[in-house]
Structures are given as structure tokens and as C-alpha cells.
């Protein structure tokens, strides 16, 4: 009688066990950010817009200079000592040069309104950039 090649019930192999889940080793060192990541983040100083600071400075300086020029021009126009009245005995008579009488007032009157307008425009532009960046953050 020939021997059967098929395994009997008792000789059958047990089914293979399912693969064990991979062992995850938690390293506490990986939980913390590395030093290089902290360096890569932009600092507060780098987040400041340098051109915005320059724009604010230009606006403030031009506005102050323009207003000062306008006040100076108005004071010169109202100051009677700048009026030459023939030079005979007037108490308010003062000898002024042509620079004080014609040139400087012309410079003040010509440039001061422009400086004031440009300064106010720069401040408005800087405020607008601030507003746009504020809405982007939200």
C-alpha cells in the first residue's frame, strides 16, 4: 500500500502568524525642534518691513519741513521789519540782503507746499501698506 503524500490532520502545519506591528521607538529628542529649525524661522527684526520704516521717515520729515517752511514764509510776509521803507527814520526799518528779501521767501513759497503734500502723501501710502498687511494677516 502506497503512503499518502498528503499530510494528515495532525500533521498539517499551522497557519503563519500575522506579522507583528512594527515597534515604534519614541525618542524624546525628536519631539523637540532642532536648533536649525529655530534659526530658519524669521525673527521679529527680519519681519519688519524696512522700506515701510523709510517711507514713514520720509513722510514725517517732509511734512515737518514743509509746515516749518510755510510758517516761516507766513512770518516773513507779516513781519514789517522785512519791508524796506525808504530808509528814513522808521523804527522798524532793517537793512536786509536780497537773499532775505527775495530769494529765501521764493524758495519757501515754491517748495514748502510741495514738501507738505509729498509728506502727507507718504504718510498715507505707509498707512495704506499697513492696512493691506493687516488684512492679509487676518
Amino acid at each position: 500500500m502506497e503512503e499518502s503524500t498528503h499530510p494528515t490532520l495532525f500533521e498539517r502545519e499551522e497557519p503563519p502568524e500575522p506579522p507583528a506591528p512594527p515597534v515604534v521607538e519614541v525618542h524624546e529628542e525628536l519631539e523637540q525642534p532642532e536648533q536649525d529649525d529655530l534659526v530658519a524661522q524669521p525673527s521679529v527684526r527680519e519681519r519688519r518691513n524696512p522700506w515701510l520704516i523709510v517711507l514713514w521717515l520720509i513722510g514725517v520729515v517732509l511734512t515737518i519741513a514743509g509746515l516749518w517752511g510755510l510758517i516761516q514764509a507766513a512770518e516773513r510776509a507779516m513781519d514789517p521789519s522785512y519791508v524796506i521803507v525808504d530808509g528814513y527814520g522808521s523804527e522798524q526799518y532793517r537793512v536786509v540782503g536780497v537773499e532775505d528779501f527775495y530769494v529765501i521767501p521764493a524758495i519757501l513759497v515754491s517748495l514748502s507746499p510741495w514738501f507738505t503734500a509729498l509728506g502727507i502723501g507718504s504718510i498715507i501710502a505707509a498707512s495704506t501698506v499697513h492696512a493691506v498687511q493687516w488684512s492679509r494677516r487676518g
Binding site: P42, P50, W51, L52, I84, G97, V98, S122, A125, A126
Partner: protein, 97 residues
């Protein structure tokens, strides 16, 4: 600041300096060309300006009222270009990551 904005800024600075130079030249021309005294001209009498190197500061001359011309316009145009470039740079600036 990108290259076009840099070009705009440089153009503005150059135009501003040209306007300043034009203002200086205009003032120097005005002060260095006084008019001779005339009782019929109706112009005010001043001592000759010492800024243009008059030989005797007590020399009496007459000057017509000073008119600037287009020099301040050039100066202001340069300022407008410069400020516009700075405003554009501020609006388009992003922090480096």
C-alpha cells in the same frame, strides 16, 4: 527691491539732484546779475550780495523780484519718483524665510 524699482529709485535720485543743481544755478545767476541803480526803474535797492563774491559789500545795486522758474518742478518730480519707488518696495516686500 527688484531691478525695475531700483531703476525707478535711481532715476528719482538723479532727477532730484538735477533739480537741486538747477535751483542752485538759478539762484547764483540771479544774485550775480544785479541791475545798475536807476531812479526810474522802480526796483528795490540792496547791498550787493556777498554770496557771489562782490568786491565791496557796501555796493548798492537793484534787483528785480526773484522768480524760480521750472527748477523746483524738476526737484519735486525727482522726489515723487523716489518716494513712489520706496512705496512700491514697501508694498511688495516679503520677509525672507
Amino acid at each position: 527691491m527688484t531691478r525695475p524699482m531700483r531703476a525707478l529709485f535711481v532715476t528719482g535720485v538723479v532727477v532730484t539732484l538735477a533739480g537741486l543743481a538747477a535751483c542752485a544755478v538759478r539762484i547764483y545767476d540771479y544774485l550775480s546779475t544785479p541791475r545798475a541803480l536807476s531812479s526810474t526803474s522802480g526796483l528795490k535797492v540792496f547791498y550787493q550780495s556777498s554770496l557771489v563774491g562782490s568786491e565791496s559789500p557796501s555796493t548798492l545795486v537793484q534787483y528785480a523780484p526773484f522768480v524760480f522758474g521750472a527748477a523746483p518742478v524738476v526737484l519735486v518730480a525727482g522726489l515723487v519718483l523716489s518716494i513712489a519707488s520706496v512705496a512700491l518696495a514697501a508694498a511688495l516686500w516679503r520677509p525672507r524665510m
